[in-house]
């Protein structure tokens, strides 16, 4: 069986400026990986490239997802194949309610997989079940997607989408930023509930804090567009203590 995600020598740029400069990463099914790094190191770029953001151009390297060429797939095909990105900055969709949007998304994915689409009533049952499972009420289900949402509500909404769409590979981009400790805990609990031997999670974060609650199997440090160091969960604690300065890009060469 191929790895769930295999990134080889990935280079990506935006507006002619190279941001990723040779990322290598293997994520196997059942694993949780954390990608840490200082601001501007390329963490969010990596997450966005995995989701297919057209603003970035991949100039070198490859990304395989379950053995398929991920870079050859449109963003919607990636989602239909089970890749999910929880956005650092979720986008508002004027006039479209969360419930309507979630049903459209779930049905698009079901349709692509040859499964029957859900009518509004069946979908509501699914939604209720997911909300109950993660212990949230339906207070933002009938509001327009992310419109007028607080920072915490937006992040929770990303997690709700993840719960409904049940991705195989979830990439969480700075899901902890802007959350107070209680919100952080409920988000982490919801993520942990989705952990399973048949899925994998990549958590992108600047701070170690989230990793107290979503405990990773592997921690990678991205510096200047390359993974400069990899280790177990203790690496995150070391970073918390010493900061990022002691890890130099040259370490990648050694």
């Amino acid at each position: 069986m191929p790895p769930m995600l295999e990134i080889k020598n990935l280079h990506a740029s935006a507006e002619g400026h190279e941001i990723l400069r040779g990322v290598d990463l293997v994520v196997n099914v059942g694993e949780v990986h954390a990608i840490m790094g200082p601001n501007g190191s390329g963490k969010s770029t990596l997450a966005q490239v995995l989701a297919g953001q057209p603003a970035y151009t991949v100039t070198q390297g490859s990304v395989r997802y379950e053995g398929q060429d991920l870079l050859d797939m449109d963003p919607e095909e990636r989602a239909q194949a089970g890749v999910f990105l929880a956005f650092q900055y979720p986008v508002a969709i004027r006039g479209v309610t969360n419930a309507y949007f979630l049903r459209a998304a779930l049905n698009a994915i079901r349709k692509a997989r040859g499964e029957p689409e859900l009518d509004p009533i069946d979908f509501l049952a699914v939604l209720e079940e997911k909300l109950q499972a993660i212990g949230w009420d339906d207070s933002f289900v009938n509001r327009p997607v992310n419109e007028g949402f607080s920072g915490g509500e937006k992040k929770r909404n990303e997690i709700l989408q993840m719960a409904v769409l049940e991705p195989k590979l979830a990439v969480l981009d700075e899901t902890d930023s802007g959350l107070d400790i209680d919100a952080l805990k409920t988000v982490a609990e919801a993520v942990n509930r989705l952990r399973s031997p048949s899925r994998a999670t990549v958590v992108v974060t600047h701070y170690q804090r989230l990793l107290n609650y979503i405990v990773p199997d592997f921690v990678h440090v991205l510096v200047d567009g390359r993974i400069a160091r990899s280790g177990g969960k203790e690496l995150a604690l070391e970073l918390e203590e010493k900061g990022y300065d002691w890890i130099k890009p040259e370490a990648a060469v050694a």
Binding site: G52, R78, G95, A105
Partner: protein, 438 residues
């Protein structure tokens, strides 16, 4: 210029025929209203794009067509066509075809006592005093030459009167159909809706063409809300894209009244709708919304004017435009806060999404504030669908085309979802979906 003068003369001649043809027997107040209207029109004629109020809307195609009043009763519209236009509504309605009231297609029974629902023609017989007290008192003939023409040719339309404290449970539908036989015809639907103190009513006014006649509708609706009244006005214009549609909706609110207005423009090749609201009593609240969904070479011009004449009033205004192909949308939103209208709270928003490179929108806010303790905000957007939002939807498995459709629908739903009468909202939601799918 010659065209416009010829066109004016044509309408003046039409007025003489109209006055000779029975209109001369009208009560004195009505004759005065008509006379004032035609004199005003004779003095100013048709507007042109050199006038600030008409800068973006060239009505030359309208003045070049010699429209005349219908000379025979409208061709028979089938009950099925009426049902279709009402989208399944079964309640009270007044139906007009080619400007003529059609009692056999209308339903005016089953209403609480204290509710009058009938044609203007009927009301002239039965409720002359009420008409004399209100008709033409709110919509100014000075502001728009088409309103002056409406006053000159006032004869038929809908009359709704709700007595003090009475609440009309069901929406009242006013349906103005133009048949294929109305090629080259002009109609002047003239509606008066009066809600006495603390009365409540929802009125849905709809304009549609059966077929594809090149006709001109010149509609004026006056909506009066006395103190504490609560009114909702939904207006749907989906005439043929060969039609011209000129309209004024004028509301006048008393103290602590609440009015919600939603105007939808889906049809006509060239349309102009002035939506004017006067908040003339302390504590009055107004929601003034609108939506246009246009394609081809359609042109819509919304001019809104909210007049805060008294203190402690609130107005919230949202107009969205969805413009495809070569369509063009114009929005001019004027807000006046009179001296003494302290504690006014007013918010205006105009959003336009351009679905093609050739579509165009112009948006002009116009705030005139003469009081110092007020909150007035405005904002406008014009542009294509947000690429970040499209990408966001795609990352959730929604294909690019479906994502564009969903966002376009959301743009329209943003307005329609604010209608708080479920039956009307759901009907409009279906109309919006059908319009976007077309």
């Amino acid at each position: 210029m010659t065209h416009a003068v010829d066109a004016r003369d044509g309408y003046l001649a039409e007025f003489r025929r109209f006055a000779d043809n029975g209109a001369g027997a009208a009560p004195a107040w009505l004759q005065e209203l008509r006379q004032a209207g035609i004199e005003r029109f004779a003095a100013v004629g048709f507007p042109n794009t050199r006038q600030e109020e008409w800068r973006f809307t060239d009505i030359a195609p309208l003045t070049q067509t010699p429209f005349t009043l219908p000379t025979s009763p409208g061709t028979r519209a089938s009950p099925e066509a009426v049902e279709d236009m009402l989208g399944g509504a079964t309640g009270a309605r007044l139906v007009f075809v080619d400007g003529v009231f059609r009692p056999e297609l209308s339903i005016a029974r089953g209403l609480p006592s204290g509710v009058k629902l009938g044609s203007l023609g009927q009301a002239l017989q039965r409720d002359g005093d009420l008409l004399a007290a209100h008709l033409g008192r709110y919509a100014s003939i000075e502001r728009n030459p088409f309103t002056a023409l409406s006053a000159a040719f006032v004869r038929e339309g809908a009359f709704v009167h709700v007595a003090r404290g009475v609440s009309v449970g069901q929406p009242l539908y006013l349906l103005f159909l133009t048949s294929g036989a109305a090629q080259g015809r002009i109609t002047h639907p003239r509606n008066l809706i009066v809600l006495e103190r603390e009365a409540q009513a929802t009125v849905v006014e709809a304009y549609a063409t059966l077929g594809a006649a090149r006709h001109l509708t010149n509609a004026v609706t006056e909506f009066v809300l006395e103190d504490g009244a609560e009114g909702r006005h939904v207006r749907i214009q989906r005439e043929s894209d060969t039609a011209f549609h000129m309209a004024t909706s004028q509301s006048h609110q008393g103290r602590d009244s609440r009015f919600s207005s939603c105007s939808l423009a889906f049809g006509a090749g060239l349309s102009r709708h002035d939506v004017n609201a006067v908040l003339d009593g302390r504590g009055a609240q107004l929601l003034l919304n609108g939506l246009s969904v246009l394609a081809g070479r359609q042109h819509v011009d919304y001019h809104t004017m909210i007049d805060h004449a008294q203190p402690h009033c609130e107005s919230h205004e949202l107009f969205n435009g969805v413009l495809a192909d070569h369509a063009r949308g114009v929005f001019n939103g004027r807000i006046i806060v009179r001296p003494g209208a302290q504690r006014t709270d007013s918010k205006q928003t105009n959003n336009n999404v351009l679905l093609s490179e050739a579509a165009r929108a112009d948006s002009q806010p116009q705030l005139e504030i003469y009081a110092d303790d007020v909150k007035c905000t405005h904002g406008a957007t014009i542009g294509p669908l947000d690429p970040n939002a499209l990408f966001y939807l795609e990352t959730r498995g929604v294909g690019a085309d479906a994502a564009r459709q969903l966002m376009t629908y959301g743009f329209a739903a943003d307005v329609v979802s604010r209608i708080d009468v479920p039956e009307v909202r759901e009907r409009l939601d279906r109309l919006v979906r059908a319009r976007l799918a077309a």
